[in-house]
């Protein structure tokens, strides 16, 4: 019975993966998303599957995306900087059943693109940017976030 259940769950994994395909993007697309007009406040989290503090804080972003209709959460995976194969990210999304939009950044020369994303970013993961393009407010956090902090930061951009 247990084996049957396991087989059933394993069969579900690829389906779950298909629900949230992670698009591989270049810096230009990310910049367009950050700078373009948006009805919603954008919360962009930079993470990687290997990064323990990133994985720990992911549920906060998932919860935020579910609770706030005025917020659009985007999780930008930096995994390709170390490993050219995105398979690990796809499997992670399926395993954790991530509901938020996941993008995978595929760029070379981090020294040139990190400053283009945000000058305050050292490149260390995790990092989070909150963008309210209606007020022009942009918050940057270069560390792991804790319960309640995202809501506070969003309020500061209103």
């Amino acid at each position: 019975m247990r084996i049957l259940l396991l087989l059933f769950l394993t069969a579900l994994v690829p389906v779950a993966g298909k629900c949230q395909p992670a698009k591989i993007i270049k810096l230009a697309e990310l910049k367009a998303l950050m700078d373009g007009p948006s009805e919603k406040i954008r919360v962009i989290n930079f993470w990687a599957t290997w990064c323990a503090p990133c994985v720990k804080e992911l549920p906060l972003f998932e919860k935020l995306a579910q609770e706030r209709q005025d917020v659009k959460v985007t999780l930008v995976s930096m995994d390709l900087d170390l490993d050219p194969n995105p398979e690990k990210v796809y499997r992670f999304i399926a395993r954790k059943k991530l509901q938020s939009e996941v993008l995978i950044l595929d760029e070379k020369d981090p020294n040139s693109y990190i400053d283009q994303i945000d000058k305050r970013w050292t490149g260390a993961l995790p990092a989070t940017i909150i963008i309210n393009n209606k007020t022009g407010q942009r918050k940057f956090v270069g560390r792991e976030l804790h319960e309640g902090e995202l809501e506070k930061l969003i309020a500061e951009t209103l």
Partner: protein, 211 residues
Amino acid sequence: MFKRNPVIMLKNFCLAFCAALLLAAAAPLSPGYEVGDTVADFRLKNVDGKMVALSDYKDVKGVIVIFDCNTCPYSKGYNDRIKALHDKYAPQGFPVIAIQPNDPAISPGDSFEEMKKQAEKKAYKFPYLFDETQQVAKAFGATNTPHVFLLKKESNGFKVAYIGAIDDNARDASAVSKRYVEEAIQALQKGSTPATTKTKAIGCTIKWRNA
């Protein structure tokens, strides 16, 4: 007579707010060293149990200080490149000093015991120091691992010549196009200023102690 002064009230509120912000910040507040700054001496415990100080390095032209750890995949990816840097440049007067700043309470794989195992397994020929209080990492303004601070020896101490990544390709050592640290050392050897003095790289954040 005892009417509250709104200016003072506002000032007090701002002070309290700033204090709260200071307390809330888990990361170090000091921005750390910039290129050109003179570095304060430090003394930390090496994996062999002996203390190592920067001021012990008397007959060198400089030192490659690298904040590094056991657990970060970037540290693992750069391990052989760090060893190669030491092998190539220690004989030329630029040895490596590796410093592990992560709090083992958050990252158990970076305990002093695990550091000893790592140094032994990888046959480190350079010191691998434990920054237990994280004061050295804070003084330098290190943020991730591996994070390089190339120091140049001058008559009055060590000056920061380069801060940042080892090269521009973490994924593939054979596909590197810019060897930042090597290029900086070579510039110092010629008596000139490195063309690139500061770079950024994706990496693991230093695991700071919970405030």
